[in-house]
Every structure is written in structure tokens, then in C-alpha cells.
């Protein structure tokens, strides 16, 4: 999260576009900026299962990150029209999945679907004149585990929610490496550009550490609502 925020302010706000593709060293839940952590997450069960919980700066809902490819895209220039910006960035995913032979399509507002099932969700924020979009491409889904960690009001609703999500959400059944490579290709196809590999500079890393210390490693940040 700190790296994404650093990229937003140090690169996006300067007019650059950066795509970051990453995974998680262990499963994690992120909640949307405006969500209440206790309302959304079963914190005791997360602690028992060693699942970290962190608040994002992007909006949207709680996400259980496990078997997935996660990306963040920051851009200093982007369509003002929010729907157009989602379409443009989700095209990267659609074309990337297409490179793996998967027939995906953009499903407004901010999903990508295959055969009507959601395989990729997205959330955005606009700060400092720049855009940050977080997205996840599901490789596989363990709905039962997800609902054991997220709060659902009653057992009855939980069973229905699990059934609903199984019906509506699917993994793409590819490896992390295949998907990450395809996503890079999708970005080139969607934006008509070549990608330059970049590493964080010493200054970037210092800024990431500063952001992490000030925000994401603070319990008060994630528990502020």
C-alpha cells in the first residue's frame, strides 16, 4: 500500500504512468478507505489465521487477497470521465487475459468478467491531480475461507452469500507468472506503448518507509473507522 501511495504522489502527480504488478507474501484483507474495519472484518479470526488487515486509500469494498495477481496503476493523465477511465484500464486486463486465450470483457462499472463471472475487480482514487487504480485478477477463489474472515450478519446469510459469490465470481486458472506476463502485454496492447522496467529509487524507498511508518503500519490507520 505504501509503494502504491508513493507511486501516486511521486510519479502520477508528475504526469507519469506506472503499472505495478504484485502478489502477497501471505493472505491479506484490504478494506476500502471509507469502510469500518470491525463492520467488515472478523479481526479475531484474521489474527488466528495470520491474515493481515490494512486500509487502502482507494474506495470500494473489503477484499480478501489470496490466490491472485494484484496491480496498481497510477496515471497523471487520464480520462476525466470515471467510466471511461475504468474502461481504459480494464481493457488492459481484458487484452491481457486474451493473450492467455481467455475471452474476457469489461463489465461496468469496474469489473472484468469471463462467461458472466467476475474475475477481476477494481477501485480508484483521484489525488494530487493523479489517479490510482487498484485491481485484482483472481487465479482461484476460496469463497468459504473468504467468508470465514469477512463479517456477514448471520449464518443463514453467510450460506446464501457463499452460494451467490460462487455463482458470480471465478478464478482464471492460470499461474501468477503467466498472468503477470500477460498483463504486461495487455498494458502494451491497451495503451499502445512499450513498457520500461523500473525499480524504486533510494528516494522512493525512503518515501515508502515514511508512508508505511506514518500510515499503514499504524493500527490507528486501519482502525480509524
Amino acid at each position: 500500500m505504501a509503494v502504491d501511495e508513493c507511486l501516486l504522489y511521486r510519479y502520477g502527480a508528475a504526469g507519469d504512468t506506472v503499472l505495478r504488478i504484485y502478489g502477497w507474501s501471505r493472505p491479506c484483507i484490504t478494506i476500502g478507505y471509507f469502510q469500518g474495519v470491525r463492520e467488515e472484518v472478523n479481526l479475531e479470526r484474521c489474527e488466528h489465521s495470520r491474515v493481515d488487515v490494512v486500509r487502502r486509500i482507494t474506495g470500494g469494498g473489503a477484499v480478501f487477497h489470496d490466490m491472485e495477481v494484484t496491480y496498481s496503476l497510477v496515471a497523471g493523465r487520464f480520462p476525466l470521465d470515471i467510466m471511461a477511465s475504468y474502461r481504459s484500464i480494464c481493457d488492459m486486463v481484458v487484452l491481457g487475459l486474451g493473450r492467455m486465450g481467455l475471452d474476457a470483457s469489461f463489465s461496468p462499472l469496474n469489473d472484468v468478467t469471463i462467461n458472466g463471472k467476475k474475475v477481476c475487480g477494481n477501485a480508484q482514487t483521484r489525488k494530487g491531480g493523479a489517479l490510482l487504480q487498484h485491481g485484482t485478477i483472481l487465479l482461484d477463489v476460496d469463497v468459504k475461507k473468504m467468508f470465514s474472515l469477512l463479517n456477514v450478519p448471520t449464518a443463514k446469510i453467510r450460506d446464501k452469500a457463499i452460494a451467490d459469490v460462487k455463482e458470480r465470481v471465478a478464478g482464471i486458472g492460470r499461474t501468477f507468472e503467466q498472468t503477470a506476463e500477460a498483463l504486461k502485454g495487455g498494458a502494451q496492447d491497451a495503451f499502445g506503448c512499450e513498457l520500461d522496467a523500473m525499480s524504486l529509487s533510494r528516494e522512493d524507498i525512503a518515501e515508502c518507509r515514511r508512508i508505511m511508518a506514518a500510515r499503514y503500519s499504524q493500527e490507528s490507520w486501519t482502525h480509524r473507522r
Partner: protein, 144 residues
């Protein structure tokens, strides 16, 4: 939002051009002069772009911001976005109704959906904001 300029030292110092008509920023915010400073909100175009507003985070009264500092956050069903301070100035009031009724920004962006009231420090910043015609042009080019 009447102008009682004679009663207010801030307004006495204000150039008339900055007071007579609503001004706008390139970030799609509007600024009106009021008795003791300015009132700030987001435009009809901005609320339309955002779609249904679901939450608003407001600044604390008394805090000072520099021009273009992020001072509030609006979360909609589509995205979250910062609200930037249109001037160097201090927040004197926040619209607490937005905490329980964030939809006021959609329903009434220029009236009940106002976001903050501020006392500006730098009058020249108000004068350099977009006029109605300039803002209409900006929105017109954004919609093409």
C-alpha cells in the same frame, strides 16, 4: 449568500471582480463570496461525474490549508476523490449535514451540498480563478 461588504474587513479588501460572481477551479470546485469569507463546493459537472456520493470526510474547523492542498475526500459509488483547497486559507465551517446526508452533494451541489467555508489569506488567488465562461469552456472541452 448576501454580500454585506461594508460590515466586513475581509470584503472591504476584496477586489470587486472576485466578489461579484461565482468562481471555479480547474478541479471542478466552485467558490462564492459570503459575509465572512468564501464558501466552497463541487460543481454540477463534478457531482454528475462522481455519481452517487456515499461518504464525505471533512476537514477540521480551524485548520489552515495552502492552495491545492487536499482538505476533504468524497467517496462515490465510482471512485473517491480529494477536494482541494481553492486558496490559502483557514476553514471556519464545515457542512456537517454531509456526514449523515452525503447525497446532498448530488441533489444540491451549489446550495445544501456546500462543503466548507473558509477565510482566504490571499485575495489574488480568488481573482485568478476561472470565471463562469472559462469554466463552461473547460467543461465543454471535457465533454467532447
Amino acid at each position: 449568500m448576501g454580500l454585506s461588504a461594508t460590515e466586513n474587513s475581509f470584503l472591504k479588501k476584496m477586489p470587486k471582480s472576485a466578489l461579484l460572481a461565482r468562481r471555479y477551479t480547474e478541479e471542478h470546485e466552485w467558490v462564492d463570496a459570503i459575509d465572512d469569507g468564501i464558501i466552497v463546493g463541487i460543481t454540477e459537472f463534478a457531482q454528475d461525474q462522481l455519481g452517487d456520493v456515499v461518504s464525505v470526510e471533512l476537514p477540521e474547523v480551524g485548520v489552515s490549508y495552502r492552495h491545492n492542498d487536499a482538505m476533504a475526500i468524497i467517496d462515490s459509488v465510482k471512485t473517491s476523490t480529494d477536494v482541494y483547497s481553492p486558496v490559502d486559507g483557514r476553514v471556519t465551517h464545515v457542512n456537517e449535514n454531509l456526514l449523515s446526508q452525503p447525497e446532498l452533494i448530488n441533489k444540491s451541489p451549489y446550495q445544501d451540498g456546500w462543503i466548507v467555508k473558509m477565510v482566504p489569506e490571499n485575495r489574488a488567488q480568488l481573482d485568478s480563478m476561472l470565471t463562469q465562461d472559462q469554466y463552461d469552456e473547460l467543461v465543454g472541452s471535457a465533454e467532447k
